[in-house]
Symmetry: C2
Subunit: 229 residues, 2 copies
DNA sequence: TTGTTTATGTGTGAAAATTACGCAAATTAT
DNA sequence: ATAATTTGCGTAATTTTCACACATAAACAA
């Protein structure tokens, strides 16, 4: 692979980066990797790397994601490209930024790979390059996206409770909802399936379990809709 | 500028493209340029070109826009990056796609530059490269954007009428609204200023003139809002 | 000129959606 | 045991959306 490649005009490097969102009882967080080398040694960064000639951006982002964190088969989506002239001190680099949504519970063991660590969205350490800006844009993209698609379900375990779902929405949108109205709205969407876990008790501290119903959702999507919050 | 530039690893070319939206009584349209050379000779394409080492993507898009169409000082915004391995038969190329919103009325004279031509959104000729896909994504981005920001005002003349504004929204969103409800909603937003053109008559075929009020809008934006349609 | 058609502005009641809120039951904590 | 918390359920009040009719002046047709 390594060799010499010559062009008539100078070309920037092209990389991808991946902002990995996870969610649990502590709220929304992102998975970061500590840089072991200069520049920005000791700072934290999103997993990412150079795009190969035989892969497109999303493929690259998924490859880097797996290589650096072990994560695969997750929701990955491009949200912006960052091309400031001086964003990388080593040379001109353009990065195509993605966000990934992962079910944090099922990942707990997977991040043995390297020095990856989850940081709550409110306690982000110093980031390398322009990654702080990238994070802000990623959050904005996620917040807007949640109005059109139930992205939240990518972040929750397969089976979850209404309070969990509400916490998630409140974390992402940074607002508070009335318990009962939130549940009503969600249920009226018709994309939740009640999971029977044996316990039949109701109206109690033991919450009902739900799972997301992709079939209902795709039907719903075909007709066009908006999630209003 | 031209010379030889050598790298250890191969790099794709990086370009920008610009989907230019305009609007008039005939509806929404895009400004295209006819290709005079292969590949895709005779097809139409968005203005665009190679990113220089001393400019970021938006700067590049604006430069190409002015060079190829004469347009400047317009709304330009990135909406996606296209990186399919075979999207350009001449070699690996990544393009950072933007859309521009222009006041078509004020442009009529500016497109003497080259073989630029407006095409209604419903009558698009064969496009070069993956520009048909790029156009579809651009339209989707515009439709979503209009729910969060009054982008429409970039497309109308400084002074416009309520029916014009409604036509614009109907063209972009491809729906029909009730005249009275649309006007009520728009006026309630508080971002329109009535323009006194001397004529004091009301409730007649002679429509009231409005202009967009950026101050009210930025106040409104600070509080956070959504345009619902 | 005259009559006809079309586009525009205005307001109101009905329907729907949103919001606010109280209570009872079971788990958890003390 | 007792108290506090979490959860589910339902309803009344409010707000927002929606559908709709008419009067006026301009544009058009004769």
């Amino acid at each position: 692979m390594k060799g010499t490649y010559t062009y008539e005009y100078p070309r920037p490097s092209v990389t991808t980066d991946c902002v990995i969102f996870g969610f649990d009882a502590e709220g929304l967080s992102v998975l970061l990797i500590e840089r072991g080398i200069e520049p920005f040694k000791g700072c934290w960064a999103f997993p990412g790397g150079f795009m190969q000639m035989d892969e497109d951006a999303e493929t690259c982002a998924r490859r880097e994601l797996e290589e650096e964190t072990g994560l695969k088969d997750v929701h990955v989506e491009q949200f912006g490209t960052f091309s400031d002239v001086n964003r990388d001190p080593r040379g001109r680099t353009v990065t195509i930024a993605h966000f990934a949504l992962v079910k944090k519970a099922q990942v707990k063991g997977a991040d043995d790979a390297a020095q990856a660590k989850w940081f709550p969205i409110g306690s982000i350490p110093p980031l390398a390059f322009d990654h702080d800006r990238i994070l802000r844009v990623a959050l904005k993209a996620l917040r807007e996206k949640i109005h059109f698609e139930p992205v939240g379900f990518e972040l929750l375990p397969q089976v979850f409770t209404m309070p969990q779902l509400q916490d998630l929405y409140e974390s992402i949108l940074e607002v508070k909802f009335d318990r009962r109205n939130f549940a009503n709205k969600m249920l009226k969407l018709g994309i939740l399936t009640e999971v029977d876990d044996g316990t039949i008790r109701r109206g109690t501290r033991n919450p009902i379990k739900y799972s997301f119903n992709p079939e209902s959702y795709s039907q719903m999507k075909a007709k066009g809709f908006r999630l209003e919050f």
